[in-house]
């Protein structure tokens, strides 16, 4: 097969080289190929066009894609589900347990825990200041999420911004993203001793041991661990210096947050 292809290629090359008007022939051939290719491409782009490239409007239906699948034009979306009714879930758990239906009892307890966590999260958000360093809160971005029982997945978030380029995002709860970083700096003396690059340093926010970090692409990040697994993280974009970050953090009632979450 390989030999036949090579022989064919050699013969074609010889023929073209031998012909006196091979340049014209090549040009004609090239034009023909270009014509044919354009037609094929046009047909693929618009299957309704005829051989002259004119488009016909026979089968085009509004709201359908080329594959015939309808396009969604809108809907009411999902309703915001209220948090689980904690007392009802506790009663359900009790009934299921009495009937030795442990799977349902466990499920109801999980729902009750989730309900309590969401309420706790909202309580914490309510306790946060409305304005920080002249940055008003953007309550549309308030977030409380609890995906599983235990503090491990309860997260609260509040955003403060001036509508231009300055923003402070405060996140309270378990933050896996920063947990490794915090453990590294608080528990590893080797890393603490290496202070040649001052991108990270230890500070205290209202008497709580904290870390402040600066990164040109992210701005300032201030992290205060509270209790065993939770932490407060302030992410400050376009803040002038670390003093401004510290002043912003001091607006928050850290002891109050700890108390609400039951952390020591």
């Amino acid at each position: 097969m390989k030999k036949r292809t090579t022989a064919f290629a050699l013969a074609a090359t010889f023929l073209f080289m031998a012909a006196p008007g091979h340049a014209q022939l090549m040009k004609k051939l090239k034009d023909k190929v270009a014509d044919a290719t354009n037609k094929v491409i046009n047909n693929k782009i618009d299957p309704n066009s005829d051989s002259q490239g004119n488009t016909t409007n026979t089968s085009s239906q509004p709201g359908n894609t080329s594959s015939g699948k309808p396009v969604n034009k809108g809907g009411a979306g999902l309703k915001n589900t209220p948090p689980p009714d904690v007392l009802q879930q506790m009663n359900d758990a009790e009934t299921a347990n009495k009937a030795s239906n442990y799977t349902d009892a466990r499920y109801s307890l999980q729902q009750a825990l989730m309900g309590v966590e969401l309420q706790l999260g909202r309580k914490v958000l309510l306790s946060l200041p409305a304005t920080v360093n002249n940055l008003p809160k953007d309550s549309t971005q308030d977030l409380v999420s609890s995906s599983q029982w235990g503090w491990s997945n309860l997260t609260m978030q509040r955003v403060y911004k001036d509508g231009k380029d300055k923003q402070l995002t405060v996140t309270i709860g378990n933050n896996a993203l920063y947990m490794g970083f915090v453990n590294m700096y608080f528990n590893n003396s080797m890393v603490q001793a290496d202070a040649s690059q001052q991108n990270v340093k230890h500070v205290k926010v209202k008497g709580n041991k904290s870390l402040i970090q600066y990164d040109d692409s992210k701005g300032y990040t201030l992290i205060t661990p509270i209790g065993q697994t939770s932490m407060i993280v302030w992410e400050c974009i376009n803040f002038s210096d670390e003093n401004e970050v510290m002043r912003a953090a001091e607006n928050f009632d850290i002891d109050g947050i700890k108390k609400t979450l039951g952390e020591q």
Partner: protein, 200 residues
């Protein structure tokens, strides 16, 4: 014999009654704390109630596990149920036979290994990549499972580890100094479907 039976029966009734009392007590504390606005206290009491349920479920699972696996006798002192407070759920374990040639079953609810195992079991490409002479995917009582063989240099028998995901729980069955047909024979004596109903 009759006296012994009455003795064990009384212990069982006492345990069940205590578990019910603890559960009801924690739930009552949770309700009181919640209605008086002490959310953190309610949260803690609910977690305790959850642990109590996990303990009861664990004991129920132990009840349905067989007393013997063919010739391997149960080691009652090694029956173990542990309720966790973190995202890993209850851990239940039981062993049969001698330490060097026996079998051990361990059930962990919400095990972090579940995602990894499911990806191997459900993605043929990944399952194929992870397959060698000591690892294979098979079905046990209709559940997909992964069998790992750890060869023993001294004899033909090996240690086998069979991992069976049951929705959110992971059943790990380990048999030392055994053969594959023997392991499959043992596991068929474990009521997986009933365990799945209890732990999920």
């Amino acid at each position: 014999m009759k006296k012994l039976f009455i003795y064990f029966f009384t212990i069982a009734i006492t345990f069940t009654a205590k578990a019910q009392t603890d559960f009801s007590g924690y739930l009552a504390t949770a309700k009181t704390s919640y209605t008086s606005g002490k959310l953190e206290d309610a949260h803690f009491a609910l977690q305790q109630a959850m642990q109590e349920i996990d303990m009861v479920v664990g004991k129920e699972v132990l009840k349905i596990l067989p007393q013997k696996l063919n010739a391997l006798n149960l080691n009652p002192k090694e029956d173990h149920v542990m309720a966790n407070t973190s995202f890993i759920g209850a851990t239940i374990s039981r062993s049969y036979g001698a330490d060097t040639s026996g079998a051990k079953i361990e059930i962990i609810n919400n095990s972090p290994m579940i995602t990894y195992l499911n990806s191997i079991l459900n993605m043929p490409v990944l399952g194929g990549l992870m397959r060698d002479e000591n690892n294979k995917t098979l079905k046990v009582q209709g559940y997909k499972a992964r069998l790992e063989k750890q060869p023993n240099a001294n004899n033909e028998k090996a240690t086998y580890i069979l991992n069976i995901p049951l929705n959110t729980a992971l059943v790990t069955f380990t048999v030392k100094s055994s053969t594959e047909p023997e392991v499959m024979n043992y596991i068929n004596g474990i009521p997986l479907q009933q365990i799945a109903k209890l732990v999920n």
